[in-house]
Symmetry: C2
Subunit: 382 residues, 2 copies
């Protein structure tokens, strides 16, 4: 299978590229280092120094004999993307190439504009480069569970049957997201769904929860092959921030009441999910939506886990509720379905104490690189 | 009230600008002549020659003593829009400034890209120019009934209460539109709803059906003040096309089976609706959605009306079903609520035979300008 990974330099992109290559597929990773640039601009650089994509591809080749092709360029530029797709003729495009930070998207006009233009623009170009060059290509699009928000009813997998005044209709599950970044993913879904039904594209839209983890079969070969590890308020997810805070002796910063519930998954399971999706593509004219997470818990529960694991490793871990910089419900109903990927063969790796301890061990090696000024929220929703 | 009309050169924009000015409001019409440019490029120029905005404002002033201020520029350019909003400090922004043609948006990559970038981009700039300069300003946004598509259940006014597995939640009514143009309006709604709930904007989103009519109190003062009358396949709505076909002796071109049902309204009622919305603004943090049409019927029923009126006026009117260039259901359930504007005081002007006859009379004066090559569909959805 010929697989293009857009956003191949990202936290998910690079492990995905290695994973598909290790499995024997022909892989082209595409990126424009936009996340690195934003990290530089916002004082949010990753904990562990990351070689360039070309360097990482070379190290990966030395370790495994396998190849990841690399192309540096901007997928929001149709001239670039279209020529790459025309040359490579992918069977599958894995589209991660979006500005992924919610706080960044809420910072101000320019950050919001860049997020909207980039994310919608890349999705639009992916659609059209497939239509023009390889209409049978399967687009695997990274969405987010955040598209659904936190409704007071069960969250279904992408679609919902509505009965109203005695009649029935199946709709895309109504979405209302909590940041502009998450809203761009809602718009992506709307756009993909339109072109799926009018032009017969085949699309899998992965509604993914927050991912954690540093270890994959390939990234374990060398620290230089590790995924980017962000612990800052811009790119760091809550799991990463808590682990780094535990190590740095800073209280775990729970935003507000901490009753925010989300569905989480291990990076290893992201790789499984994307591979499962790629191996059994959506049909022509199908928008297949898969809820991609393995277990759900509150921020408070997460803080307690990190607290327990940290204490057991001799760290002095405190928990502190701070003012919530976001506008979100801090206590709410949350029951999100996630059967489809299990049915397709996903074997979950849960967030055990051992998994958290292994992350702590890895991060401890880089303890002296932690800069505590990056940990506290620097962007507010209001 | 200080009213900015974005897209002030358009079919709705110009009559709206005159209407608010005639009612004593301070009016600034903004446009970049984009529709004129597209009309030129696609051989779709309006039937009746239209003076520039500056010329029309001058003629309007000579006839009434009233003023419409004019500013020519691109609202997709934030530098331009922001400075205009900062200077004018509007109480109400009426946002019509979008590429309004469904067929144009389906023509190819460049047309689709332009539609997406322009429409989303202008809406985004409107949001941010209000946030930065006049956060209390009421945004009256022109959406379309086409956002809803043709679901098999009743169409509510913007919102729907869903009961699911014994729990309840109110959502934006799920939308799925039939063209990229209509889809950009769905994305606009998503975007507005996000900024309404996080930043407390006040927005009225008008889900408008196809509008017909050439006559308003102000446009009746001079043919030079008429709204643009498009009868081409790009900008002409079905009512206009049928009337021109009846006059030109070309069979009325019903797309497919002709069972497509839509909600229609008279241009006079658009002016009433927009004025009613502007006079009682949405609350801070409210996205108010109003379904804006007065009566619904099928394309076949419309063809029969034009046939009847044309025959009575001595025209030889034929009806012809042609292959549908669009992808849409040609027979479907359609029951769309439209109570809110009536409750606010809308007094409907229905599509009577007299109204159609008056339109025919007006168009007959320009019969020799009709170019039949513009009447048949030149863009296909497939």
């Amino acid at each position: 299978m010929k697989v293009m990974v857009l956003g191949g330099d990202g936290y998910l992109g690079w492990p995905t590229a290695m994973h598909f290559s290790a499995k024997g597929h022909t892989v082209l990773a595409v990126d424009n280092y936009q996340r690195r640039q934003i990290a530089l601009e916002t004082d949010s650089e990753a904990l562990i120094a990351t070689p360039t994509l070309d360097e990482r591809a070379q190290i990966f080749h030395e370790k495994t004999g396998k190849t990841v092709q690399v192309k540096i360029g901007d997928c929001a530029d149709m001239l670039f993307l279209n020529s790459v797709v025309a040359d490579f003729q992918p069977d599958t495009i894995i589209h991660y190439a979006e500005q992924p930070s919610a706080p960044y998207s809420m910072k101000g006009f320019h950050e919001a504009q860049m997020t909207l233009k980039n994310n919608l623009g890349v999705t639009f170009n992916v659609i059209w480069s497939v239509l023009q060059n390889c209409p049978d290509c399967h687009i695997v699009k990274l969405g987010t569970m955040g598209e659904y928000g936190t409704p007071n009813i069960d969250i279904e997998e992408g679609w919902i049957d509505i009965e109203h005044n005695g009649r029935k209709q199946k709709f895309l599950y109504p979405r209302q997201a909590g940041s502009l970044y998450h809203t761009t993913k809602v718009l992506d879904t709307d756009l993909l769904w339109f072109y799926v039904r009018t032009h017969g594209l085949r699309v899998t839209d992965l509604m993914q929860g927050p991912v954690y983890g540093l270890s994959t079969e390939e990234s374990d070969l060398s620290d230089q092959l590790l995924p980017n590890f962000h612990y800052d308020d811009i790119f760091g997810t809550v799991v990463n921030r808590f682990l780094v805070q535990a190590i740095a002796g800073v209280p775990l910063t729970v935003y507000g009441k901490g009753g925010q519930t989300r569905g989480y998954l291990n990076l290893i399971d992201t790789l499984q999910c994307v591979e499962l999706a790629a191996k059994s593509p959506a049909d022509t004219g199908e928008l297949r939506v898969l809820n991609q997470f393995t277990e759900q818990f509150t921020v408070n529960e997460l803080a307690e886990r990190v607290h327990r694991v940290g204490q057991s490793m001799g760290l002095n871990v405190q928990i502190k509720n701070i003012d919530n910089p976001r506008k979100e419900m801090e206590e709410h109903y949350y029951n999100a379905k996630h059967h489809a990927l299990i049915d397709m063969g996903l074997e979950p790796h849960y967030m055990t104490d051992e998994v958290l301890a292994a992350m702590v061990e890895k991060i401890l090696k880089y303890k002296d690189r932690i800069e505590t000024r990056k940990i506290m929220p620097r962007v507010s929703w209001s």
